[in-house]
């Protein structure tokens, strides 16, 4: 375990390939006197094949960062690189297709379309692309997530934990380069939350995916390989191989 206490500069980590990277990313909401700098020239890489958690006080820009990295929102300046692709240079349609084909999402709530059953929700990104699913892969994903017997249910007939599992299955189904999750366990009790975290971990360990997750929960962050700390739209530190204690310790120091 290594803890850097000085201001983190965003230099490259030692773990090899980078899946997605922010370079001098700035996001300003509003204009003039009411302007809010949600991201303030942040540069940070996210290693491929790793599970990274983003932490920081409320309003520090975690969601904004993830939205910009995932091409859900456009930055005011700076660049986002997904592999070799510069997201900030893409038009809306290209960005949409990129999200559909190369990224996966798990949100805190409202992950599923109410009119579709679980199976259709899982297959949605593929269907939107007009592709068919490889049945073996579908069975594997559904099997890992344990939602085989819930496939014909509508979201309103599923518990919160089950809904999040379906969302994780959907995020995995198109074998994305990166899965983004914004407080995926925020609405769940600790047991269901733990299960979802285990699934995200398993996607990294067993399926080789890259996961970037925003969380407020030190226990959830401890499930990750790496923690990135944010404050006031800037990088405020990094924790490799986090444990619950080190995470709490860092957060306390950030608050001072």
């Amino acid at each position: 375990m290594s803890i850097q206490t000085h201001a983190y500069t965003g230099s490259e980590t030692d773990s090899g390939a980078v899946a997605v990277r922010a370079v001098g990313l700035t996001k300003v909401y509003g204009a003039d006197r009411t302007a809010v700098r949600a991201l303030d020239g942040i540069s940070v890489p996210f290693a491929a094949g790793r599970f990274t958690a983003i932490m920081g006080p409320s309003g520090s820009g975690k969601s904004t960062l993830v939205h910009c990295l995932a091409g859900l929102d456009t930055a005011t300046s700076g660049r986002v690189l997904l592999g070799d692709t510069d997201l900030t240079s893409l038009g809306d349609t290209e960005l949409t297709l990129l999200r559909r084909d190369r990224l996966g999402f798990v949100f805190q709530a409202f992950n599923l379309l109410p009119t579709l059953n679980a199976e259709a929700n899982v297959l949605l990104p593929l269907r939107l692309a007009g592709r068919t699913v490889d049945p073996a892969w579908f069975d594997e994903v559904v099997g890992i997530l344990g939602i085989q017997d819930r496939l014909t249910h509508r979201p309103s007939e599923l518990s919160g934990g089950q809904q999040q599992r379906v969302a994780v299955a959907r995020a995995l189904i198109n074998r994305p380069e990166v899965i983004f999750a914004d407080e995926p366990t925020g609405n769940l009790d600790s047991r269901s939350g733990g299960e979802v975290l285990a699934l995200l971990r398993a996607s990294v360990r067993e399926l080789g995916r890259t996961v970037v997750m925003v969380t407020h929960d030190p226990a959830a962050a401890a499930a990750a390989d790496h923690v990135v700390l944010l404050a006031d739209g800037r990088l405020a530190g990094e924790i490799a191989d986090p444990t619950v204690d080190t995470v709490i310790d860092h957060l306390r120091r950030l608050g001072d």
Partner: protein, 728 residues
Amino acid sequence: MRGVIVAGLRAHLPRLGLTGLVVVLSVGFTAATLMLTDSLDRARIDRLADTVAGVDLTVLAATGEYLDEAAATDVAGIDGVAAAAPRREVGVKTVDPDGRIDPLSSARLSAVPDDAELAGLALTEGRAPAADDEVVLDTRTAARAGVEPGETFAVAAMDSGAPAELTVVGLVEPPSPTRLDPELYATYGGVGRLAEPAGADRVDLRLEPGTDTGQVRAELAALDGADRVLSGGELAQLVADRSALTGGELRLPLLMLGAVSLLVAAFVIANIFRILIAARTRELALLRTVGATRRQVLRGLLAESVAIGIAGSVAGVGLGAVAALVTATVIDSGPGRAPLVVSPSSVVWSLVVGVLVTVGSAVPPARIATRVSPLAALHTVPDGADSRTVGRVRAGSGLLAMAAGALLLIAGAGPVSPDTGLVAVVVGAAVCFLGLLVLGPLVVPPLVRALGAGTARLAGAARSTAELATGNAVRNPRRVAATTAALLIGVTTVAGFVTVAESSRGSVDVVVDGQLPADLVVHWAGEGDVPAGAVRAIENLPETGAVAETAGGGLAVDVPDGDDGEAARAAILEATHDLQELSVESLVDRRTELNEDLDDAVNVVLGVLALALVIAFIGIANTLSLSVHERTREIGLLRALGLTRRQTRILLGVEAALMGAVAAVLGTAAGALFAWAAVLSVDELVFVVPWGLLALSAVVAVALGVLASLVPGRRAARTAPVTALAAE
């Protein structure tokens, strides 16, 4: 509570504005109909009154009896009478453009006095008739017959048929824009040549200024053959009463068509309210939890609808007045045209109907909204879904109405006597259709699904978009049923109407051909049969084929195949140039003429029904834009997951097209079925299915749906993916 209502109104102003527009359009049509017909009536009455404006007193003969000419001389001798003139009207036949007496024509020839004040002729050209062989025509008749002042125009007495040549000396404006009966004026002597028996039907008087009317009246009453003595005002009223009023003829059909628009509007308004109230469920629930009673909330919602109803109706009356003024000016530009007549009753009726329809449509959704428990409402996110099942009462009453309607339809089409048959069909169609509307929430979603399943054969991405659209369309059975219903009413009316019209057209052919398998018909307007010499002359013409006598005393004339009959027609006219009572009619022309009349009627009715379609169009656009608003997060999620802007627009387009298609399928089927029963109930008609027109109206319905999706589709496509993630 009032503050809350005003805030609510302001927050939803754009949507409510559309509701108001629907009210404005439908009320506007009703108001325009009432004001237009009133104005046309008034113009005609004013003109008729003008023709007798110079008359102070008149003596009428009893019906069927006549005053002899000496009576007029006697009257003129009474103290204080400045002028007296005998009047007489006879029905006559006029000549066709060939200059031959048209046996089917019917014109009114009136005697006008020499005394200019009593004559009351509003000449646009020339002068009043002075000699017995002079005549004044209305401009429309002159144009149709192709005669100008200085030329001659022949008329024939209704019964005897002997033609009289008259020289046209002047023209007057036609008395009414929509009545086609020709109006002719001649001297008393001139009319007398065609009057049988002779005599005056009334004597008009002008009095010296300051004369004691009572005294003159008493002397007139004692006159031999006098039935009644009327003042000038009473005479004007009598003349107006006797003439069929133009407006009255137009009013009923127009109001019936207007009712279609009102019905469509009611569905659209109810739907908009339903969605708006659903969107505000939380706001309303919050009001309830902080202590507003159910009654207060209901009153608040209804107050909103009253406000919209009043505002929309007032604007509608204004719009209607403008439309009536423009229409009245276009169809009646003659002199003495009355200004726009805005009677209190037209205004009051339009306002009452507008407010009642608006408030009535708002009541059911408002009541449903207030029944939701405050806590339940606070915990739901409105997503447009409606899990309530369709009640048994609704299903039962809908089925019952459809069955009863169907029985009436069958009875009307078949066994019932022809008189009551059509009535039975009309009532049956209305009841049956009502049943269909009641069953809408049960019938429409499965149809949408079935049509949506038809898209399953599409490949790839298009298919998933279509599937999503189907799911969206059926998520709220009541809403999709109501949205579709608005369009359904329009399509059914149009389909039924064009089918009846096309059957009438087909029947014209069948009847004309069936009665007379010939190309030309020779009519004889004189007494007895066509003179034998003329028959022989026609038979001997090289241009004619077989000649046979018809039941009506005329001749049916065949011409060789491939000939349009024009040569034969000219030859017959040439061979009979001295027989003005003989006219030649081409069945091709007859058919064309009948069909043109039919076309005119069809165009007017379709124009009016277009209003209903416009209102339904607004309804679809509005429903879609409201549901886009409701589904902002969902659309954002789809956009996040990879739905492109183009796919988003297609999604909305397919959703609207599915509703349009269901309205097209149901409406075309229902309209054609009702038309079939109506046609069968009338003996002379044969049923013709206008496939092309029905297909066209179906395509228009789908196209309207797709068009209606353009604006909401664009809005949906602009939804940023992050909106899905935004905290509430």
